[in-house]
């Protein structure tokens, strides 16, 4: 059985270490917050200007002045801080964030990442993604292994406009958890979802998969 969204988030949470400052992207990466191991401390950063994101609010605590980068209502913790956009990205660009977990449309073997535009069809904008992948120490992608048309998303070279060049360190898909070896442009299997074969992963991946 391929992993569910929640299981993919739980797998991504294995990247977390005690004392880490972490930025989580929109979608499945946001769910990683639900899987932080209880024995470690992780501080979540939101690029709109917050360190120390708490859980979603109770209905009667919803505050429109308190949102995360996905524009979802959140809460503050006793140790949270707020700051301006330029201060937030100084933090990101300055290399102070340990880990970013974000979604992708394509990842290439050399670590190139594309996640903000399909020319002529879709333009979402890069938001803070280009700054994050350029400035954060480790970049982990959580995404479906193939696109809606069934084509592999892990490819020798990206065809879509890049978000960053040579930036991806690891990938979690519904099929498994992988490190990306940018030097050999190959995918190194760390974990495989139950019932998924190495053969299936190789069929759905356009770069070498090392089991």
């Amino acid at each position: 059985m391929a992993w569910t969204r929640e299981e993919m988030a739980a797998q991504a949470a294995r990247e977390l270490q005690d004392g880490y400052y972490v930025n989580l992207g929109i979608g499945i990466p946001t769910l990683v917050a639900n899987h932080v191991p209880t024995d470690i401390d992780v501080v979540l950063q939101s690029e709109n200007g917050m360190l120390g994101i708490g859980p979603f609010p109770f209905e009667d605590d919803v505050d429109p002045d308190l949102i995360n980068a996905g524009k979802q209502t959140v809460t503050a913790l006793p140790t949270s801080s707020f700051f301006s956009s330029s201060a937030s990205f100084a933090m990101i660009r300055g290399g102070h964030i340990d880990l970013a977990i974000l979604g992708a449309m394509e990842v290439a073997g050399n670590g190139d990442l594309a996640n903000w535009s399909v020319p002529g069809k879709m333009i979402k904008g890069m938001g803070g993604a280009m700054d994050l992948v350029a400035g954060v120490k480790r970049v982990v992608v959580v995404m479906s292994h193939i696109d809606k048309a069934g084509s592999p998303k892990i490819v020798p070279r990206c065809t879509l406009p890049l978000t960053g060049a040579g930036v991806v360190d690891a990938i979690i898909s519904e099929l498994g958890r992988f490190n990306l070896d940018r030097a050999t442009e190959s995918l190194i299997v760390q974990d495989i979802a139950n019932g998924v074969s190495l053969e299936e992963i190789r069929q759905k991946t356009e770069i070498p998969v090392i089991g």
Binding site: M50, V62, K71, S84, F89, I123, G128, M130, A134, L162
Partner: protein, 239 residues
């Protein structure tokens, strides 16, 4: 303290300032911390051919979207279009000029504009379309792209509270681009939920010093629309 910076409402604060073809910075991230009343004032003024510098362009029926929908905007300088169908459609069909800028680069360009720094180098965007046509230089073995400052004829910002000097305090994540943009307008107008008497603020807690703020209005009320209302159940509650 005189009250020369305090204006009655958005229309009065914008009088003699708004003109066709001008460049305007507008604070806010998504719909949080938006200068709602000043945007409504710009809509009423009918000023057109605007270049707007703002992270987003409002959302369906709200904020800067209303200016876009009224064909008052010629060009946007933004980082994010998602969840705004009109914005995406106008960009894809070439009816709106767009300078797409990474969010952190946008914030730093505005900060640089306010601080009198014409250009800076950043890793962000190296090897992507963002770096095309811009000088790239190597520092300590890594490539950096040169980005330039942003300044505007007018900056409109939203704060929580102001005193008569124009000192501003923001609230939570509604701060976002507002303090940066307040520094980079030739004229800056702040709208706030409450104008408090001089002496109310602890000077150590002021976020934007009044030197950056030319005009202040107190908004009659704030809609503060929420884009994604996410909540959790209280423990023990039926779920």
């Amino acid at each position: 303290m005189s009250e020369r910076k305090i204006f009655k409402d958005a229309d009065e604060a914008l009088a003699g300032i708004a003109f066709d073809g001008m460049t305007i910075m507008s604070g806010g991230f998504g719909l949080s911390g938006n200068p709602e009343h000043l945007i409504a004032g710009l809509l009423r003024s009918g000023v057109k051919d605007l270049t707007i510098i703002s992270n987003n362009c409002g959302a369906d029926g709200f904020g800067l979207w209303t200016l876009l929908n009224n064909s008052q905007i010629r060009k946007m300088i933004s980082s994010y279009i998602g969840e705004n169908k009109l914005f995406a459609e106008l960009c894809l069909t070439g009816k709106l000029e767009l300078e797409l800028t990474p969010q952190g680069t946008l914030a730093e360009r505005v900060r640089a504009g306010g601080a009198g720094i014409p250009a800076f180098y950043t890793r962000t965007g190296v090897g992507t379309v963002v770096a095309e046509g811009k000088p790239v230089e190597t520092f300590e073995g890594a490539l950096y792209v040169r980005e330039t400052w942003l300044r505007a004829d007018l900056a409109i910002v939203k704060a929580w509270k102001a005193d008569p000097e124009g000192n501003l305090i923001y609230r939570k994540t509604a701060r976002n681009f507002n303090p940066d943009m307040a520094t980079a307008g030739k004229v800056t107008i702040a709208e706030v939920e409450e104008i408090v008497p001089a002496g109310t603020f602890d000077p150590d807690q002021v976020h934007t010093p009044g030197i950056y703020v030319n005009r202040i209005i107190q908004g009659p009320s704030y809609e503060k629309r929420i884009e994604f209302r996410t909540t959790r159940e209280r423990e023990g509650a039926a779920g």
